[in-house]
Assembly symmetry: C2
Homo-oligomer: 141 residues x 2
């Protein structure tokens, strides 16, 4: 259970690739797709989502392509994942307790809340910068 979809996996690969390039370098979708081994048409859809959310900037026409929307140290893995997969929801009652009817007294409910928090915490603690360079965030600098 809890498996990331291909879409999510591809999304990460694609944007981490961008994060490894100079911030203002415009990359062709076809190049990115080839580099990270993802079906180009599929990656196109993903990057369209990214583009709408400002995670990447896109340019059309000759000389067009994609570049990162913000500095890679300011984009967390959580943002990337949620951009394409939606919110992280271990159980539906986490987002809509009213759906269940048992949520008032249910002892399992808070556990899912906790799971959600933990997962979000981990993903939020990782930036594209770290993912592209392999270096842990140097928070004390």
């Amino acid at each position: 259970m809890m498996e990331l979809t291909r879409k999510g996996e591809y999304a990460i690969r694609g944007i981490v690739y961008l994060a490894g390039k100079p911030i203002d370098k415009v990359c062709l979708l076809s190049d990115i797709a080839a580099a990270v081994d993802v079906p180009p048409t599929f990656l196109a859809k993903i990057f369209q989502q990214f583009s709408k959310m400002g995670l990447v900037k896109s340019f059309r026409g000759t000389g067009g392509g994609f570049m990162l929307g913000r500095a890679p140290e300011n984009i967390t893995l959580l943002e990337v994942v949620e951009a394409v997969e939606g919110q992280i929801i271990p159980n539906r009652c986490v987002v809509k307790p009213s759906d269940c009817g048992r949520s008032d007294y249910c002892n399992v409910h808070p556990v899912w809340k906790r799971v959600q928090g933990e997962v979000r915490g981990v993903l939020e603690g990782v930036t594209l910068k770290e993912l592209s360079t392999g270096e842990p965030a140097s928070k004390t600098n």
Copy 2:
């Protein structure tokens, strides 16, 4: 993403119900299903799985039914969830790194490992006892 399936949700409801009964009380599937509001035929399949893994004991024929396989304080939520949903796998490379080819140098890979660990940790820290009584485990007693 990461949503528990209905099956998983139903499984938990069903077994937590059992955990709230005296350990040697035999409950009818139909009663359990009605009590926790789950389609009886579906719950049957789930309890068959539980039975094979020893999480519940089953008795056939007249006077038959189900009871918990072990003391509720010795069954963790992790066990229950993994019994019906399989392992908790945030990304497939967590369980089969060889599938990816990039796993050797991939910086995202360890993040999924960490996510897996956190989720398992949370679920492992919760027992059926706590879930049925609402009381946190009193480890210091």
